[in-house]
Amino acid sequence: MVFDMYQEFILDYYRHPRNFGTLPHPDMISHDVNTSCGDEVTMQVLVKDDRIGNIRFTGKGCAICIASSSMLTEHALGKTLDEVSRFTKDDVLNLISIPISCVRLKCALLGLKVLKLGVYQFLGKKLEVQDEN
C-alpha cells in the first residue's frame, strides 16, 4: 500500500531532513543522479579514526529519496568506513521500515549508492597511498 509508504515520520524526514547541508572541509564528496527520474544526492563526510566523524547530504528528490538518505546519514555516523562499505540494500529498507514498491526502490537506494561511492573512492585512494609507502 502506497499510503503506508507516506507515514508521518517519512514526511517529517522529507520536510525536515536531518544532516541536510554541507561540511566546511569534507574528506569525501560523492554525487549521483537517478537518470530515469532526475533525483540527485550529494554526500559529504569527515573521516575521523577510520570512522564517519561527521556527515551531511544535499539533494533534490522525492520524499522516499530524501527521507532514506537522511536516515542513512544518521545510521552511518560513528560507524567505521569498513562497516559502511558493507551496508546493503536491506540495511536501508530496515532503516526506513516502510513497504517500498519495486518502482520506488531506486529512490530509496540512491543515498546508499552515493555514500558507498564516496567511501569506496576514499578507501581506494587511501590504499593507493599506502601502496606507495
Binding site: V2, Y6, L11, G38, I64
Partner: protein
C-alpha cells in the same frame, strides 16, 4: 472504418481495447493508446500480406510494397505533403538526428549558430549539440517569458542575426503552450533561415498542413498519434534530394559496385534496410481513424476536458500549474511541497497514471526553477469521469501528505 457524426467520448473509448483494464490513463502525451482499427490493420498486414517490400516479383511481395507505399501516401495526405517528401524512421528523435547528421553536416560549419528554444524536448537539443560540437558551431536558445509562452521579441532578435537553422517545437510537452508556428516560420524565412518544426505534441491535436505552414522539415512520432512505433520526417522535396543518406545498406541504393555505389531516389535513400511495414500501415490506419473523428470535434472535446481538469486542479487549492491557461494536451503541475514522484505514486495507487519527472526537458525545468513536475495529458478517449477519478485521488493524496 466507422463514421462518427457526433463525437461521443464514451463511444470513442470503446474503440480502444486498452481501457478494459479499468485504468485512468492520463499519460497520452508520452504515448497514446491504440484503437482497434490500428491493431487490426497491423495484424492483417502480418497475416495476409507479409513479404519483404521492394524486392520480390511475386504477387505477395507486390502487395506488401503497395501497402507500405500506400501508407506513405496516406501520411503525406494527412499533412498535405507529397509522398516523395515522407521518410519513415523509428520516431521523432531519429527524424531530428537524420536532419542533423545529413542536412546539418552539409550546411552547418564553424562559427555558425543553430537556434532552438528553451522549451525543447531533449530530442530537439542533443542532436544539435552533437552537430555543433563536431562542426564547431554553437546553439542559441530562445527563452520562455513569464506567462509560459515563447518570448517572441527574443525570437525576432535572434532570427535577425540569421542563424543557419531554427528548430522549435509546435506544442511544448510540458507547458502545453502552442507556438505560433506559421508566424515564426514566416519570420525565419524572411531572414532566409530554414525551419525544423517538432510536431510530436501538436499532430495528435490539430490539423497540420505543411504547405500552409511553409515549413522546411517537420517531424513526429506515430506512437503519440494513436499509431505504432514508427516516426515520420517530412522535408521539402528539394532539400531531401540534396541531402546525403546517413545509413547505408539495402534499399537505399541504385547500384552497388565494388568501388562505389549510387543512391536511390528520395525518400528511399534514407530508408536503408527492411522497413517497418506494419508500422507504416498502422500509422495510416490511425490517421484514417482520426480523420473519421474529425479534428474539429477532437479539438472541442479536448478543450472541454482541459478546462474541466484545470478547474478541478484549481479547486484543490495546493496546486501550482506551469504554462499558459490557453494550452493543448498537457497540464504540468506540482502539488504542495511534495515531489512529483510522490504524487504520481499515490495516484498510481488509485489506478491513475500520470507522468512525473523532468519530462526530457531539463533546460525548461531549470528555467521554471523546479526539479520536476507531475503531468496529466489527454487524448480523444479521455472522459470527464477520468478527471473526476484523478481529482478524487489527489484529494486523498492531500490528506496522505498532510497538505
Amino acid at each position: 472504418m466507422r463514421l462518427v457524426s457526433r463525437f461521443n467520448p464514451l463511444d470513442v473509448r470503446k474503440d480502444f481495447p486498452f481501457f478494459e483494464k479499468g485504468l485512468v490513463y492520463l499519460d497520452t502525451a508520452a504515448t497514446a493508446q491504440k484503437p482497434k482499427a490500428v491493431l487490426e490493420s497491423m495484424t492483417e498486414c502480418y497475416v495476409e500480406h507479409n513479404a519483404n517490400v521492394h524486392r520480390g516479383v511475386y504477387a505477395l511481395a507486390q502487395e506488401a510494397t503497395d501497402l507500405y507505399e500506400g501508407a506513405r501516401k496516406r501520411v503525406a495526405k494527412f499533412i498535405n505533403a507529397s509522398s516523395g517528401e515522407i521518410v519513415f524512421v523509428r520516431n521523432a528523435t531519429e527524424a531530428i538526428n537524420l536532419v542533423a547528421q545529413s542536412w546539418g553536416r552539409a550546411n552547418i560549419s564553424k562559427g555558425d549558430v543553430i537556434l532552438v528554444t528553451v522549451m525543447e524536448h531533449h530530442s530537439n537539443i542533443v542532436p544539435w549539440q552533437m552537430l555543433a560540437k563536431s562542426a564547431g558551431a554553437s546553439l542559441e536558445f530562445v527563452p520562455v517569458s513569464k506567462d509560459g509562452l515563447l518570448d517572441m521579441d527574443a525570437a525576432r532578435l535572434s532570427l535577425r542575426k540569421k542563424p543557419k537553422l531554427f528548430a522549435f517545437t509546435h506544442v511544448s510537452n510540458v507547458l502545453g503552450a502552442v507556438n505560433p508556428a506559421k508566424e515564426l516560420i514566416a519570420l525565419a524565412h524572411r531572414e532566409g533561415v530554414p525551419v525544423l518544426l517538432d510536431a510530436s505534441q501538436s499532430v495528435p491535436h490539430v490539423r497540420l498542413d505543411v504547405g500552409e505552414l511553409g515549413v522546411d522539415f517537420l517531424v513526429f512520432s506515430g506512437h503519440k498519434l494513436y499509431g505504432p512505433h514508427i516516426g515520420v520526417l517530412y522535408a521539402k522535396r528539394s532539400l531531401l534530394e540534396a541531402m546525403e543518406p546517413v545509413l547505408g545498406g539495402g534499399d537505399m541504393i541504385k547500384e552497388v559496385a565494388l568501388s562505389h555505389s549510387t543512391w536511390n531516389d528520395a525518400p528511399w535513400k534514407f530508408e536503408a534496410g527492411t522497413p517497418n511495414v506494419s508500422g507504416a500501415v498502422g500509422l495510416a490506419a490511425a490517421m484514417d481513424y482520426l480523420d473519421a473523428l474529425g479534428f474539429d470535434a477532437i479539438a472541442s472535446h479536448e478543450k472541454d476536458i482541459m478546462d474541466y481538469a484545470l478547474e478541478g486542479l484549481d479547486s484543490l487549492g495546493c496546486v501550482a500549474i506551469y504554462g499558459p491557461r490557453d494550452r493543448v494536451g498537457v497540464i504540468s503541475f506540482n502539488f504542495g511541497d511534495m515531489h512529483a514522484h510522490d504524487v504520481s505514486s499515490v495516484l498510481d495507487e488509485s489506478g491513475v497514471c500520470v507522468r512525473s519527472g523532468h519530462h526530457c526537458a531539463q533546460p525548461l525545468m531549470g528555467e521554471l526553477k523546479i526539479p520536476a513536475c507531475a503531468r496529466m495529458s489527454f487524448g480523444v478517449y479521455t472522459t470527464r469521469s477520468d478527471i473526476d477519478r484523478a481529482m478524487e485521488a489527489l484529494r486523498k493524496a492531500k490528506v496522505v501528505f498532510g497538505l
